[in-house]
C-alpha cells in the first residue's frame, strides 16, 4: 500500500507542478478573457460588451487624448453573455479601479442588449453563467482561479495556442489570408479579431448574427435590474473621473432590430446621461461609414478609425446626439 500511495503521490505532484508551470505561459492567445483577470488595477477603463472589446483601441484613445502611462486607458469589456450590466460586472469593475484615482477616464458603451435579460430568468439568475460570476481574484498574475474555473481545455493547450499565435504573428501574410477567425487579447485589453473579410463570408456571418439577435428579441426584455446597475456603474466611475456614455455604430440590419426591440432606447440614455451628469455620445447615425466582421463588431482597421473619432468627440466633450 505504501508503495502504491507513494507512486500516486509522486505522479500527482508532478502533474500539479506541471500545471503550475503551464499556467505561467498563459497569455493573450489563451482565450478571449484571461489577460483581463491578470492585469493590475487601472485608472481609466473602457466598459462594455464585445462591441467595445473589439471596437475601441485603447492605444489610439491614449494617443489622441494624450493619456500618459499612469492614466492610460484599459479595455475592460468582455461580451454580452459576460459583461451585460449587473452585479457581477459591477463587482469586477469595482475591483479593477485604483481606489485612489480621481482623474480617470471611463468610456461606458451601451446598447439595448446590455440592459436586457432573458425574460424567463430571475434577476439573481441572469449572470450565473458569466465568466465574472463568483470570482475572487481580478488582478493576479498568473490567475490560477480563472484557469481552474474557466479554462476548459488541457493546460498544455496554453502552450499550443501560444505557439500557433507566434507563428501567425511572425508571418503577417498568414493573418490576412486567414479563413475562419483568429483572436488575440492584447495587454491593453483590446481583443484583436483576424477574420476573413471575403464578402460572401461576411454576409453569411451577418445573416447568422441577425438570426441570433432575432431570437434574442423574442426571448429578452428590458431589465430594470440591469439598468439600475448601469446607473450604479456610472455613479461608481464618476467618483474616479470623467465618464462618457457611448453608443457604438452597428450594421444597419442589426440597428433595425435594436430599434424595434427598444424604440425609446436613445431617449432613455439621454435621460440617464442628464440625470447622472455625464455625456452621451451616440454614433449609430454614422454606422454606414464602417465595415463589420459580422454586423455587430467593427472590422479591426475600421475600429481604429472609429477609435480616433471617439477620442476626438471626447476631446470636444459634446453632450449631444451626433448630427
Amino acid at each position: 500500500m505504501n508503495r502504491f500511495l507513494r507512486n500516486i503521490l509522486i505522479a500527482s505532484l508532478c502533474i500539479v507542478a506541471l500545471h503550475i508551470m503551464l499556467g505561467i505561459f498563459a497569455d493573450g492567445s489563451t482565450d478571449n478573457f484571461y489577460l483581463r483577470f491578470t492585469s493590475s488595477k487601472q485608472n481609466s477603463l473602457i466598459i462594455g460588451t464585445s462591441r467595445s472589446a473589439q471596437g475601441i483601441h485603447p492605444d489610439i484613445i491614449d494617443s489622441v487624448l494624450n493619456l500618459k502611462d499612469n492614466n492610460s486607458i484599459y479595455n475592460y469589456s468582455f461580451s454580452i453573455n459576460n459583461s451585460s450590466y449587473g452585479k457581477e460586472y459591477y463587482n469586477a469593475i469595482e475591483n479593477k479601479i485604483n481606489e485612489s484615482v480621481t482623474n480617470g477616464l471611463f468610456i461606458i458603451t451601451i446598447d439595448p442588449w446590455a440592459i436586457s435579460s432573458d425574460s424567463t430568468l430571475h434577476d439573481n439568475e441572469i449572470d450565473i453563467n458569466s465568466i465574472l460570476y463568483s470570482k475572487k481574484y481580478y488582478n493576479s498574475y498568473p490567475n490560477y482561479e480563472y484557469l481552474i474555473k474557466n479554462y476548459k481545455k488541457g493546460w498544455g493547450n496554453i502552450l499550443l495556442k501560444r505557439i500557433e499565435s507566434n507563428i501567425l504573428f511572425r508571418n503577417q501574410n498568414s493573418l490576412s489570408k486567414i479563413k475562419g477567425s483568429f483572436t488575440f487579447l492584447r495587454k491593453d485589453g483590446l481583443l484583436e479579431v483576424y477574420t476573413s473579410m471575403d464578402s460572401a463570408y461576411v454576409k453569411q456571418n451577418t445573416q447568422n448574427k441577425v438570426h441570433s439577435y432575432n431570437i434574442s428579441m423574442s426571448r429578452n426584455k428590458f431589465s430594470k435590474f440591469r439598468f439600475l446597475y448601469l446607473k450604479k456603474t456610472i455613479q461608481l466611475l464618476k467618483k474616479h473621473g470623467e465618464v462618457y456614455l457611448v453608443r457604438m455604430p452597428v450594421h444597419t440590419s442589426l440597428l433595425t432590430i435594436e430599434n424595434s426591440f427598444y424604440p425609446l432606447f436613445d431617449k432613455k440614455m439621454i435621460n440617464l446621461a442628464n440625470n447622472t451628469h455625464v455625456a452621451y455620445l451616440n454614433f449609430v447615425n454614422s454606422s454606414t461609414q464602417y465595415s463589420y466582421t459580422d454586423g455587430n463588431h467593427l472590422y479591426i482597421e475600421d475600429a481604429k478609425r472609429y477609435s480616433i473619432k471617439l477620442a476626438e468627440r471626447i476631446k470636444n466633450s459634446q453632450r449631444l446626439v451626433e448630427p
Binding site: R3, G154, N157, S181
Partner: protein, 481 residues
Amino acid sequence: MLFNSIEFAIFLPSIFIIYWFVTKTIKQQNILILLSSYLFYGWWDWRFLSLIFFSTVTDFLIGKGLEKNEKPLTRKYLLWISILINIGFLGFFKYYNFFIDNFIYAFSTLGIELSYQSLKIILPVGISFYTFQTLSYTIDVYKGKLKPTKEFITFAAFVSFFPQLVAGPIERATNLLPQFKKNRKFDYNQATDGMRQILWGFFKKIVIADNCAVFADQIFNNYNDYSGSTLVLGAVFFAFQIYGDFSGYSDIAIGTARLFGFNLMQNFAFPYFSRDIAEFWRKWHISLSTWFRDYLYIPLGGSRGTNYFKIRNVFIIFLVSGFWHGSNWTFIIWGGLNAIYFLPVMLLNKNRINTNIVAQGKYLPSIKEVFSMTLTFCLTTFAWVFFRAEDIHHAISYLSNIIHPSTLTFPELITPKLEMVYTLFCIFILLLIEWKNRDKIHGLDIASYKKNSRWMLYFIIILMTITFGSFNQNSFIYFQF
C-alpha cells in the same frame, strides 16, 4: 457525479483512504460502499435514490421469497413481480412518452385526433443499467444458479456499487455479489493496473470522445453545408466519439472497482479490430450483449431450430437491444441494421470463425484482415449514423447527402482546424496503442512492459491528455440510456 469532475477527484481518494485505513471489517467496507454509492448517485439528483432503494428492497425480498418457496407457480409469480416492477419503472421513465406519442400519431394517420400532452419525465440516470443488474439477480436465484443473500447491506451495495452504477458494465450477480462477501485485501498489482485502466479511460473520454464530439456535432448539425466526404468523416468522428466515451467510462469504472479489490467484467475488447459483425458484437458492450444472450436469446431458443426461428430470435435481440438504448425509432433501426448485418454470418454458420486475436503474434495484419476490419468498421459506422441522428429524417438526409460526387473529394477542415488535425492524430495514437495491446484486457494493460517503457507511456498519455484534453466536464453519452 461525473468521473471527469473535480468532485470525483476529491471523492475517490477520500473513499479510498477511508476504505483501506479506517474500515476494519467486510461489513464496514460494504456500508461505506453503500453510503458512498448513494452519495455518488444523489449528487446528480437525490430524489431518484428512492427508485434504487425501492428496486433494491423489492429484489432482496423476492430473492428471500424464492428461497423460502419451493412451489413452481409461486416462484414464477415472484419472478414476474420482480420483472414487472423493474421493467415497469424502466417503461414509465424511459418509454412512456414514446408510446403515447406514437399511439397518438397512429390514430392521427387514421383521421382520429386525440389530444394529449406528453409528460415531462426526467429519465433517472443509469436506470437501464441497475434495473438489468437487479433483474439478473432475481432470475439467477429463480434458476437456482445463485443462493439469495441474507444480508441487505451486501445486496444494496451490490446494486448501487458506484463505479458501475450509472453506465455499467452491467454486472451479473453471480460474478459481483460473491465478491461483496469475501474478505478484500489490498493488492498492489491489482490497484496499479486499476490506475492504468483509469488513466486509459480518461484518455479515451477526455481526449478522444470529447474532441471528436466537437466535430461530429458540428457536421451532424449542419450536414447540408458539407461535402459528402466531410459527412463520411463526421460519421467516423462519431464512431470514435461513442467508442471513446463509452469504453472510456467502462475502463474508469473497472479500474476504480479494482482499487477497492473488485473485479468487474470486461466490457469492450477492441471492437474496431473486428473482422466480422459477429466478432464486433462479442467485443462491443459485452456486458449488455451477454445479458441479452443469457436472459433473452437463449430462453427464446437461440440459434437452434429452423431458419425462421433463428432469424426471428436475431431480430428480437437486436431490436430490443436498440430499443434499450432509447425511446426513438432511430435506435430501433440501428438495432435492425445490425440484425441484418448479423444474419448472413449466422445463417452461413460463420459467426464463430473469428474467435482468435486478429494477427496474433504479428506486428501487422494481413491484407485480408485489413479488408475485413475496414468493411466491419464501415458497416458499424453506417449504422452509427442512425444512432447519432435526431430522427429518421435526419439520418436519411445525412446518408443521402453522402451519395454525391463530393464524397470523392478531400474532406473539408472544420474550424477549429488545429484541433481537428490533432484530434485525428490522437485517434491514430489510440489505435496504435490498442493494436499493440489487442491481446490484453485493456488498452494500457502494460504490466509486462519494462519499467522505463511503462513510465514513458504514462508520460506520453498524461502529456497528451493535458495538452489535447477537453475538461468541459461533458456528460457521458450512455448516461442518457
